[in-house]
């Protein structure tokens, strides 16, 4: 029966694509923030990314996984090896099977992936009223205008306007597709106590966690920007030299020289 269902879905879908039924909810355009990583010279704000890591660890990680993120990656946002080892050691992960064939548990090491909050999707759904909290590793790249979108979403909660049909267990958020989201407002004044003493306003926390998640989504961003400037400069000089060479080489052609007949 599965294949019949699959074919039906596929055909229905292509018909949909062809004939044009569409039922996507609309969402408000995200607020535009001037991020440090924007632009060709953009870099991560390491202090903010570190604060963002703290927000992720203490708030987001209770529901959202980060499956492509390993503790060793923290070196890129300014932590040293000892700090990373210590931070990893706060978590437990599955170890090797022992000599009796039993499962073991050990402290996490820098090479380990950040432990997922739930054993599997079903466990995640049942703990969250049926909604599946998505993994955040690539979230910034998986949405249009991702960084601004996430900042807007995190700070965009509010009361639904009169007449808005809010479903049971949902929260109003104009930046989310359809205007309602299962996630309750995650950030509140002073929810975390920043190690560097920065006041933890919801806006500050949202900006910081976006910095951190932008790093997780695109760890190569800084290396890419640095190399890009060099490559463009090289190509610019090369292209100018090629242009000048062309002009010199083409002189006899422009002068009308006949290369084949005297």
């Amino acid at each position: 029966m599965k294949f019949i269902k699959n074919i039906t879905v596929a055909l229905g879908l292509s018909v949909m694509a062809l004939s044009g039924a569409s039922a996507a909810g609309t969402a408000e355009h995200p607020l535009q923030v001037d991020w440090s990583f924007n632009g060709p010279l953009g870099k991560f704000d390491l202090a903010a990314a570190q604060r963002g890591w703290q927000v992720y660890k203490q708030v987001c990680s209770s529901c959202h996984g980060l499956k492509y993120f390993r503790f060793r990656n923290l070196a890129d946002i300014g932590y040293d090896e000892a700090q990373i080892k210590a931070m990893a050691a706060e978590y437990e992960v599955a170890g090797e099977v022992d000599e009796y064939g039993d499962e073991t548990v050990r402290s996490a090491l820098p090479q380990d992936v950040f432990p997922a909050p739930f054993a599997n999707d079903n466990a995640a759904r049942s703990a969250n009223g049926g909604a599946l909290p998505p993994d955040l590793s690539l979230m910034i790249k998986a949405r249009h205008d991702g960084a601004n979108y996430m900042f807007s979403l995190l700070t965009g909660y509010g009361d639904a306007p009169a007449g808005f049909d809010l479903s049971e267990g949902m929260n109003y958020n104009p930046y989310f597709k359809g205007g309602q989201i299962a996630m309750v407002e995650p950030l509140a004044e002073g929810l975390v106590e920043y190690e560097d003493g920065t006041p933890a306003t919801p806006e500050q926390m949202a900006k910081d966690v976006v910095q951190f998640l932008q790093y997780v989504a695109e760890p190569s961003l800084e290396a890419r920007h640095e190399m890009g400037i060099k490559v463009l400069l090289f190509l610019l000089v090369l292209t100018i030299l090629l242009y000048i060479s062309m002009k010199i080489i083409w002189k006899p052609v422009k002068a009308g020289k006949n290369f084949y007949e005297k």
């Binding site: 694509a17 062809l18 004939s19 949405r143 890009g228 463009l232 292209t239 062309m246 009308g256 084949y260």
Partner: protein, 422 residues
């Protein structure tokens, strides 16, 4: 075809080899000093060699990616992320390959439309042109299958929509779809065979490119005036003149490509493809890559059956749409016989010029329409744009061939481009 000029190397060892396998002569006669080429080629003639360079870049970057990629549904997405995060310069190679595909298409589209304007499809270059159409079709198949490999949401649903199109073919349609899928839905066997074919087809393209260049050698390059070479005065050696001009063009082209790779690597992609494929969640809208959009718009615009309403239906709407989409490219094969005007170059065809310009605009309109949700007036605009597209080939060109009063052609390339001696 110009005389074949044999290279006689001074070095004895090289000479010994050259006698047995004349590689140097081959290069010399295809892109070397012994390749007489019209002296008046403009920058639109750069895009052939650029497309060739892009093919090489795609093959090299693709081979490296294949060393790290796992073509199985459970690992494909993860292996791509591993390339992005843990493989040395993996991000660079992957962004080169992804943006390289787009720039390959940019080069090829400009190359094709240069041919359309300057009449490159006319005698004696019909076979050269048709081989080019074959290359384009192979490129589309390769690019489509390549986009499936990361196994993101757009990969999966794009593959589902496009492969399902074949089910519109009567009698054998369902069997073809099952063959493409390797089962009863887009799944692991589909991914596996797409990977295999995605690796194979570029080498098939390379083979057809060799034939394409061979045919070019036989009929020689066309030129913006569209008149035949008459004497040596009309020509210059390919090397060094066009090698340096192509190199300069490549510098400009790669500068723009590098700007995309390093500063907006995902601008031409779709964010949904950073979500792992999920057969239970349909994306809001399934949009193909930009280079397929004009043809996708034609597919969607033909949503009516062929026949007399209420009396007879010859072709159902879905099949007619699929036929229209394929016909929109296959019609290029018939161009040499649709446009019989003796004048090749659009420069000397005052009416053709306008219809051609509008065809270019029409392609951009179709591209835009293909990206829109088919709501409101979009399907209607699509029908007009599709109508013009086909009218250009089936009505405008044949009629203009007979009716258009063309401008007088110059006597020769040299007399047209060289200032008279003082």
């Amino acid at each position: 075809m110009a005389e074949w000029e044999v290279v006689k190397p001074k070095n004895k060892a090289v000479g010994w080899f050259e006698e047995r396998l004349p590689v140097l002569s081959l290069v010399n006669n295809v892109v070397g000093p012994a390749t007489p080429t019209p002296r008046n080629l403009n920058y639109f003639w750069n895009f052939g060699s650029l497309a060739g360079l892009m093919l090489v870049i795609q093959i090299i970057s693709g081979v490296v990616l294949a060393m790290h990629y796992a073509a199985t549904t459970g690992l494909a997405f993860d292996s791509v992320e591993r390339i992005m995060r843990d493989v040395n310069y993996g991000w660079l190679i992957r962004y080169m390959h992804a943006n390289g595909a787009s720039f390959f298409f940019i080069a090829v589209y400009i190359h094709i439309f240069r041919g359309l304007y300057f009449g490159s499809y006319k005698a004696p270059r019909e076979v050269l042109w048709m081989l080019g159409v074959v290359i384009f079709l192979l490129m589309m198949a390769t690019a489509f299958m390549g986009y499936v490999l990361p196994w993101g949401q757009m990969s999966f649903w794009g593959a589902t929509v496009i492969t399902s199109l074949f089910s519109a073919i009567p009698v054998v349609g369902e069997s073809i779809v099952q063959l493409l899928w390797g089962g009863f839905s887009v799944d692991n066997p589909t991914l596996n065979r797409f990977f295999s074919l995605h690796y194979l087809l570029p080498f098939v393209i390379t083979g057809v490119v060799i034939l394409h260049i061979w045919a070019k050698k036989i009929s020689d390059s066309g030129n913006p005036l569209g008149i035949e070479v008459q004497s040596g005065a009309d020509q210059i050696p390919f090397h060094p003149f066009y090698t340096i001009k192509d190199a300069f063009g490549a510098g400009v082209f790669f500068f723009i490509l590098a700007a995309f790779i390093f500063f907006m690597p995902n601008a031409l992609g779709h964010p949904d493809n950073y979500i792992p494929a999920d057969s239970l969640v349909t994306p809001d809208s399934i949009v193909p890559e930009w280079y397929f959009l004009p043809f996708y718009a034609i597919l969607r615009s033909v949503d009516f059956p062929l026949g007399i309403p209420g009396v007879i239906e010859i072709l159902d709407a879905k099949l007619l749409g699929v036929i229209a989409m394929f016909a929109s490219i296959l019609v290029w094969l018939a161009l040499p016989w649709l446009d019989t005007s003796k004048v090749r170059s659009g420069n000397f065809r005052p009416m053709f010029k306008w219809f051609f310009a509008f065809l270019v605009v029409d392609m951009f309109i179709l591209m835009w329409l293909g990206a829109q949700k088919p709501e409101g007036n979009i399907p209607l605009y699509g029908k007009f744009a599709t109508l013009y597209y086909f009218a250009y080939f089936f009505v405008v060109l044949p009629v203009l061939s007979r009716k258009e009063k063309t401008l007088p052609l110059p006597d020769s390339i040299s007399s047209a481009v060289l200032k008279p001696a003082e």
